[in-house]
């Protein structure tokens, strides 16, 4: 006998939907899914008698199956491991192989160690369970895992809101809470609290799928607005706090750099590996080496790596990236500044690497087509995802005719149409 019990731990006034119970002696992987009634009907029809709706239904079903199978065939995504660092000791700089003993310090003084401190969560946040599996916290990796699980626990609203706020910021240029590193008392209140909470729940309930939230945002009417300036709307909300348009945003330093590489066909899209030094370095008189960005060959293969793999010299930032507000790496910057100024204009015009990219782009265009008009169209299509209008086309042809395609490319890449999103 088989007994089925429905359990409602939350409350007793819930509706029970139509339930169906199936049993079989075939392995679960091999059970064909039961088709919806209308699909079954469509299958049952002979090809001649099928209606157009039924044909479409079957096509959709077949496509869905095909997609599912293709997805399953993909290799599993790389696993990310939380690991402790192990390295060869250098003087007193030694790797810690297990958790160190941490003691409470009386009045904060290292001279007065008290009892040993144990890993635990804040008792004030008791609604987030700490180490519910009771993992052995003497192990370093268990400690890290427990902390990770605590932070990302479904009842930790702060985490999901913080993440949702950052995703919004990433797409709109400004977050729903204007202080993305501080959602507490020192921060600001959200401009759209219900929206933020909804996005946070969507993120949480989709199993933390960033893609899901990206999709929600990108498909929203708010995101798909034009950036057209409207005097009347600006008069009421000059800062566009209430999203009457999509605010145009200057590309970030890294995006600008990678875009140029992609367009000029020089992008080295390899992932991972050690960071690349895009400067010359030789030993200095003391500890600090001498670093030279100017003397580095702008066509060197290291310059073709994605910006994320650049070696960051904290006290000697790349002057080009700095001019585009790539932040000082010594401190946290939850938000990029998007400043505009004459030195930035000069960097974008005269950086030898930018010049080299525009030359490579021009060479490419000339290989594809012999006609300037077509070259300009291709340049527009690849750089701006649209064709030039007649005025633009004439201006560009005229300029390229006088000063060459490389210069024309460089100026298009300096134009607002290219530099601003959208």
């Amino acid at each position: 006998m088989l007994r089925v019990e429905l359990n409602h731990p939350e409350e007793d006034s819930q509706w029970v939907g139509r339930c169906r119970i199936r049993w079989s002696n075939v392995h679960s992987d091999r059970i064909e899914p039961v088709l919806e009634a209308d699909l079954q009907e469509a299958f049952a029809c002979s090809e001649e008698t099928r209606t157009m709706e039924q044909k479409l239904l079957l096509a959709r079903h077949a496509l869905g199956r095909h997609l599912d199978q293709s997805l399953e065939a993909l290799p599993s995504p790389p696993q990310v491991y939380a690991a402790t660092s192990y390295f060869s000791s250098e003087g007193n700089f030694k790797p810690s192989l297990g958790p160190r003993t941490i003691r409470q310090l009386r009045r904060g003084s290292i001279q007065q160690p008290g009892k040993e401190a144990q890993p635990a969560a804040l008792s004030a946040l008791s609604h987030i369970p700490w180490n519910p599996e009771g993992a052995d916290l003497a192990e370093e990796d268990n400690r890290r895992l427990a902390l990770g699980k605590w932070i990302t626990h479904p009842s930790n609203g702060l985490f999901w809101r913080t993440m949702a706020n950052r995703l919004w910021q990433h797409h709109f240029g400004s977050p729903l809470i204007l202080t993305p590193n501080d959602l507490g008392n020192g921060g600001q209140a959200p401009t759209h609290p219900e929206l933020l909470d909804w996005l946070a729940c969507e993120l949480r309930d989709s199993g933390g799928s960033l893609k899901h939230v990206h999709r929600l945002i990108l498909n929203s009417r708010t995101y798909r607005q034009a950036s057209t300036w409207r005097e009347q709307a600006a008069a009421q909300d000059a800062e566009n706090k209430y999203y009457w348009r999509v605010s145009p945003r200057r590309m970030e330093a890294e995006s600008f750099r990678d875009s140029l590489l992609q367009l000029s066909g020089q992008l080295d899209a390899r992932m991972g590996g050690p960071s690349v030094k895009q400067f010359l370095m030789e030993p200095g008189i003391h500890v600090t080496p001498i670093v030279d960005y100017k003397g580095f060959d702008p066509t060197h293969a290291a310059m073709h790596r994605r910006s994320i793999y650049r070696f960051l010299f904290r006290t000697l930032p790349d002057p080009f990236m700095k001019a585009l507000d790539c932040p000082d790496a010594s401190t946290w910057h939850p938000e990029r500044n998007r400043s505009v100024g004459s030195l930035q204009a000069l960097a974008m015009l005269h950086d030898p690497w930018v010049i080299a990219q525009s030359q490579a782009m021009a060479d490419q265009l000339q290989k594809v087509s012999k006609h300037l008009e077509h070259q300009i169209e291709l340049l527009y299509e690849s750089s701006l995802c649209r064709m030039p209008n007649p005025t633009e086309k004439n201006l560009m042809i005229d300029y390229a005719d006088r000063h060459g395609l490389a210069n024309a490319t460089r100026y298009l890449w300096n134009s607002n149409a290219f530099v601003f999103m959208p």
């Binding site: 202080t179 590193n181 501080d182 507490g184 020192g186 600001q188 300036w229 600006a234 008069a235 000059a238 800062e239 605010s247 145009p248 200057r250 200095g284 008189i285 003391h286 600090t288 001498i290 100017k294 904290r314 006290t315 000697l316 930032p317 002057p319 080009f320 700095k322 001019a323 932040p327 000082d328 010594s330 401190t331 946290w332 500044n337 998007r338 400043s339 505009v340 100024g341 004459s342 030195l343 930035q344 204009a345 000069l346 960097a347 015009l349 005269h350 030898p352 010049i355 633009e392 201006l395 300029y399 000063h403 490389a406 460089r410 100026y411 300096n414 134009s415 607002n416 149409a417 601003f420």
Partner: protein, 469 residues
Amino acid sequence: MTLDHHMQRRDFLWSTGGAFGALALQHMLGAPNVESHASHSIITHRPKAKRVVQLFMNGGVSPMDTFDYKPALKKLDGKPFDPGGGQRVESVTRSPGFKVMDSPFAFKQHGQCGQWVSEVFPHMAQRVDDMAFIMSMHSSSNVHGVASYMQNTGFALPGFPSMGAWISYGLGRLNQNLPEFVVMSDPRGLPYNNLGNFSSGFLPSQHGATVIDSGAQDPIAFLHAPSHVTDITKESESEGRSLLRQLGAINAEDPVTQSRIQSYEEAARLQLAAPEVFDLDQESDWVKKRYGMEKEVTHDFAKRCLIARRMLERDVRFIQLWSGAGGPSNNWDNHSNIHKELPWIAEQVDEPIAAFLSDLKATGLLEDTLVIWTTEFGRMPFTQGESGRDHNGGTFVTWLAGGGIRPGCHIGRSDPRAWKAEKPIWCYDLHATILHLLGVDHTQLTYPHNGLERRLTDVHGHVLKEILS
């Protein structure tokens, strides 16, 4: 200033050089909210100074060998240094001995004010009546990197905006064609912390320093395309600018995109203005000689002082001039032999600084220009090795001159051995005073970052009223 207001301010400021520039732009475009922003000007009172020049002596100038005369050291010379009362001496480098060393340099009183100056600064000694001396500067760190960050940014950690960046952010543009915050580092090398001392930190990057390489063909990075690129010509550039203007005409009423088109016009003006500033052929031989440009030892600093004077004439807001590179030598970090190392570096700046001051005074620029002579810390009254001196954050000397400064005065005192300041004066106090002279209450110049309203002066700072005119 409230956080709310800040966010608005920033949205408007991002497009131009700062408050005034943004207001001007908004006004030109007939954009709304101009009035509400005008009412939030950062100027809190009438400024006494419009521009600032900071002469930074990199490495830690020894006070008891320059301006802080300590006759008590004569008697103690060669005896072990004992601070008494069980106090421990914090010395950076491990050097045995701790034997008191009297200054090997002769001191004399100078000017109406009677300021003591040692023989290493014979020319600056002639200008003491223009200066106000802070005799008891104090730093909580005696490590170059940390102490330099404190003097430049008010914080011991990297990543904070330097004073010049704050001033550029708060006061906006004074001139139309040149950068607001200019650094002329020592051609022998950048100071400790490299560019970290001049960072815009979390402020928009255009407020960071424009670092001038006065020895290079193009003193300002990216000013021109590299010379080997032959298809970039004057014509291609000017027609390129007009191409940008025409391509940008489509969404022209949008102030955000408009300001970017303007930045290319500004860039063109900078291309014209910059070479003119650096063109010292426009200066008479007599002036060059007075600054010390004809002598090899003073040539470099004289040249940079002269460029600084030309920048002040063109209303560059904040100029920092560095003497000394980072590293163990070529600077004021006189660890091994104070007898030789100090006069050597002191001579390089003494005559140029004196000429610079008297030139500013003669041309009237000194009336609304503030000149500051600073270093990151002082040095120990005892020896390191045979005749060097180790770092000492306990006490050191800074002087100020010009706009709003009471000339010929001094405040503060170190103990009789110049080991510790009696009443310490901190970088925060100096920064607060500088902002005060520029018409800004240092507690009002803030910027929100990571949940805090950050200030140049952190939670400290007292305006040094005694040195104000």
